[in-house]
Subunit: 220 residues, 2 copies
DNA sequence: GCCGAAGTGGAATATGAATTCAACTTGAGA
DNA sequence: TCTCAAGTTGAATTCATATTCCACTTCGGC
């Protein structure tokens, strides 16, 4: 199984490409062109393809540790004695990472087809956050109607502000987060059966939108 | 100036194309292909191009009345005696329209290059909403630190949930709106100089991202 | 230093949507 | 009915990004 090690120069290029690709994806998002990566790294694009024939794999390699970092944040948040303090701290920390890394935000907030790595990452975070949430409710810090899915929702909401304001007011998301968290505490939410796996469905890809047609039957 | 009227059959096609294009953009968003439109309408794509050589113009034609409708909602909201009731009603109505029309949401929430029509539309809505906001604050229904830009922010936030949940739980945005509005009422927001035209900047297009390069100086 | 496997560059090609256009209809006025 | 400007079509072309591939280097073992 053990692949033969790369030649010295190839290994150097590989690292350079990883660095470069990460810098670009952190700044511009996951959809940077292989050509951009190659150019920025000063290699030919053939080299990028040779080393990373599958973009998803490249992304996984680049962001694995970042995802772990978020999981770690969730763990630390669970250490808080005050569950609400832990929850708000986690949200802020997570979003701060995303603010500094566009690609990470895209992965965590979905919208693309997610790799196993990302799915598992979210699956590690969700229960930790849900636990914090449950404890906060038990402590009377949050209304009982708040669901784990609401945390995902808030994440999406604040993330949208971050995306929209990135080049205008890079910290506006903090204000949005303040609003969202206050809303969670004070909103009178309708009770709702813990229709969980709503979370999973939220991140599931919209399925194959087969027949684009049939959109419009001209009125008779 | 008066263009000669279209031939009967051409006029029929034009209408059919408008209907079809609107149906598609309402369902799938503004980026539907001219070919999709043509196919769905049963014409050749050349016909679409002949009639609507500029996509932005097509979009303007299709959505002008929808935008007017939103402006009208804002007007009606201003009639409310209770400003907060008016504001929440407006937000909900506006988002409801967007929920039924993906393209409208894209226009109103920006992200694309906006046409004059859209910019003017937003410019008609903003002061109405801002007025409602000011009155709500004066009535003690909202903290004084809430700014008009916060309404835009909330719009973006709820819209993001709508987009993410559209095919999973088409009403989830209502829950998000409840949270956001409650947050506005209860959040302790830092005072902030009415840096308005923050709103305009939020919608301004990210400028020409010239040189993609210079992203990564390989570490020495 | 020599050799071949490993590695590289970037032109060539594949894709897919956007746009054009020349050959082919058709409506409607004389 | 006849004519032709107006209208239509879809194949061909343009663009832009994705992917392949092979002639040309370079590394590292002998």
């Amino acid at each position: 199984m053990a692949e033969r090690p790369l030649r010295r120069d190839a290994e150097r290029n590989r690292r350079l490409l990883l660095e470069t690709a990460h810098a670009l994806m952190a700044r511009d998002g996951l959809e940077v062109t292989y050509e951009e990566i190659a150019t920025a790294a000063g290699t030919g694009m053939g080299t990028v393809y040779r080393r990373f024939p599958d973009r998803q794999e490249l992304v996984d390699i680049l962001f694995a540790e970042h995802i772990d970092a978020v999981v770690e944040l969730a763990r630390q948040a669970c250490q808080y004695d005050d569950p609400w303090a832990g929850l708000t701290w986690f949200m802020e920390q997570q979003l701060e990472l995303e603010a500094g890394n566009r690609g990470l935000g895209q992965l965590l907030r979905g919208g693309h087809q997610s790799s196993e790595l990302v799915i598992r990452g979210r699956a590690r975070i969700t229960p930790l956050a849900a636990d914090l949430l449950k404890r906060a409710i038990r402590a009377g810090q949050l209304p009982a109607a708040v669901l784990p899915a609401d945390l995902v929702t808030i994440h999406l909401m604040v993330g949208a502000v971050m995306d929209a304001a990135r080049h205008v007011d890079p910290d506006l998301w903090r204000r949005a987060l303040t609003v969202a968290l206050a809303g969670l505490q004070h909103a009178e939410l309708p009770a709702r059966q813990p229709d969980d796996n709503l979370i999973d469905r939220l991140f599931a890809v919209p399925a194959a939108p087969r027949d684009k047609k049939a959109a419009h039957e001209p009125a008779e």
